[in-house]
């Protein structure tokens, strides 16, 4: 993807976002848009490790919730401002990514994946046992007062998430087009050969895991202000794992565009569907779509488009 195309997309997003806020629309649209943008970040983050490098993370919820709960601690203990929350969420989740990567990335990819699954369960257990952040009951968080220029705090959060989404996409685009991205692709295609071609596979995998985890954490950092009541069952919801996986799979995993397409398509569909059908049925359908795609169209929509255009690359 050329830099110019990317720049156009970014400007487009910013303009659309600004227009959106000026419309003064029904507050509900801001809530929905926030969720969709949050998934743009999560899907993009997942794809850096999953699509670019070939390592599947099932524990998105762990990193996301870690970002959220880091915010809870900082809000409750220090009344920290939002920028600090974002930075802290990114740092802590990034460290978790580094840690779990260091422990498991020298082994087969499947063990990394299993570890991420187990990680989510363990982290949730720890949070449930920690009274300071509300334990299993959950904790209330009060939103700061209204800010100038924005109609409500939720509008502000929407703008923040829009910026985070653009940031995440920029990071993914930068990685993808850099030497690091080429190294990650080599690892994905054939790790043994990559190592013998001089690619420091462990180091690159750790970078990918850290960046990916970091972005997931930053997506979770504003969560407490968004929901105002944080409890483990919602922060660690399996939704996050399945969606951040399904969205890149549906959109296409080899470039930064796929996760964005998947997030917007699937995210919007879900927001619309939740109004009409139960959220559990909604989830079931996502699961079925995921399985269908992984069996029939593993390269996602972008892959299908490419095949139709008769491209040599899958």
């Amino acid at each position: 993807m050329r830099g110019r195309t990317f720049g156009v997309v970014v400007i487009g997003m910013v303009l659309a976002g600004v227009l959106f806020t000026r419309l003064g629309a029904n507050q509900y649209y801001y809530f929905a848009a926030y969720v969709i943008l949050q998934y743009v970040v999560l899907a993009t983050a997942w794809n850096i490790l999953g699509g670019y490098t070939g390592y599947v993370n099932f524990g998105t919820a762990a990193f996301f919730a870690l970002g959220a709960y880091t915010s809870v601690v900082l809000i409750k203990g220090f009344a920290a401002p939002l920028p600090v929350l974002l930075a802290a969420g990114a740092a802590v989740a990034g460290l978790l990514g580094l840690g779990i990567g260091y422990l498991t990335l020298r082994l087969r990819g499947v063990f990394f994946s299993i570890a991420t699954l187990a990680l989510a369960v363990v982290l949730q257990t720890m949070v449930i046992n920690w009274d300071y952040v509300g334990g299993a009951r959950g904790i209330s968080v009060v939103r700061p007062g209204r800010l100038p220029f924005f109609g409500s705090y939720v509008e502000f959060l929407f703008a923040v998430m829009l910026l985070l989404a653009i940031f995440a996409i920029a990071v993914a685009w930068w990685i993808e087009t850099s030497r690091i991205g080429r190294g990650l692709a080599a690892i994905r295609d054939n790790e043994e050969a990559a190592e013998c071609m001089g690619v420091p596979t462990l180091r690159l995998k750790l970078i990918a895991t850290t960046v990916s985890g970091s972005l997931m954490g930053v997506a979770g950092a504003p969560f407490p202000y968004y929901v105002t009541f944080v409890e483990p069952s919602s922060a660690f919801n399996l939704d996050y794992a399945v969606n951040s996986l399904a969205m890149p799979m549906i959109g296409g995993t080899t470039t930064w565009v796929g996760p964005v397409i998947g997030a917007i398509l699937l995210g919007t569909t879900q927001q619309v569907a939740t109004v009409t059908i139960s959220s559990a049925l909604n989830l079931l359908i996502v699961g079925i779509i995921l399985v269908a795609f992984v069996i029939l169209a593993p390269d996602g929509i972008l892959g299908l488009v490419q095949r139709l255009k008769g491209g040599a690359r899958a």
């Binding site: 499947v110 299993i114 699954l117 079931l284 995921l290 069996i295």
Partner: protein, 290 residues
Amino acid sequence: MVSLDLLANAVVAGILLGGFYAAVSLGVSIAFGLLDVVNIAHPVFVILGSYAVYVTNTAFGLDPIVAGIVFTPVFYLIGVVVYRIYYVSFEKKGQESLRGLVFFFGVLFIVEVGLTLKYGVDYRLVEAQYIGESLRFGPVGIALRLLVPCVVAVLLTLVLYLYLAKTFVGRAIKAVSQDSLALRLMGADPVKVKDVAFGIAIATASLAGALLIMIGPVEPSMNREYIGRVFAVAVLGGMGSIGGTFLAAVIIGVAESLTSTFFGPSWAVAVSFGVLLLALAVRPAGLFGS
């Protein structure tokens, strides 16, 4: 000072629990250990088995173990079908690792959410004569709801062990991961052998599910806490070694029980995770693997 009574009880409970864990892990030991199929959906099939038992127990008063055995052929068929889809979509094309994993995650998800849709998130349990009682041996109390599953698990392990060691199909299963060419030369179709193997793996989930709901109440999301456990057992036990699986399960059971008694029950889940990481770091071949 640690109370000896408490310790003894914790160890005994751990051994019994471990036996049960073996029943749950045998399927993964076969699928992952022998066939190299990363079936993270195995625990959710166990839960499915629990629900099947629950339904027949509440509707017909059917004994859980009997129900578990009755459903075994159904689960065997499910296993064969799932493996066929997996094989055609992924293994044949050499795409097993990434996409196969995602596939099983999708299956896990569909079954878990499906169960939640049908039965909700409430805990379900079964009624049977022996469940409420316990035996006493001096200071040590043994709850029947733990003892019976353990005994059944031991029997299941023995049956599987003998099957894999003594019958033609069983030995073919053990061979298929190492030398499918030799197998073909002997006239056996490796893919059909793997069909059978995976079918058996899922079939064990039926009985394991019955045992699970005997030990305690069940709800759909429980499958996730078992994923770490069963893979810890499979790795520690030496990937495909049936005897090794049983011993590893007991070790983990005891470790969890001790943790639960002295540090609180919610930390038990972290134990298997820790054991898995430790095993992978120090001795990935497992305690009993080659």
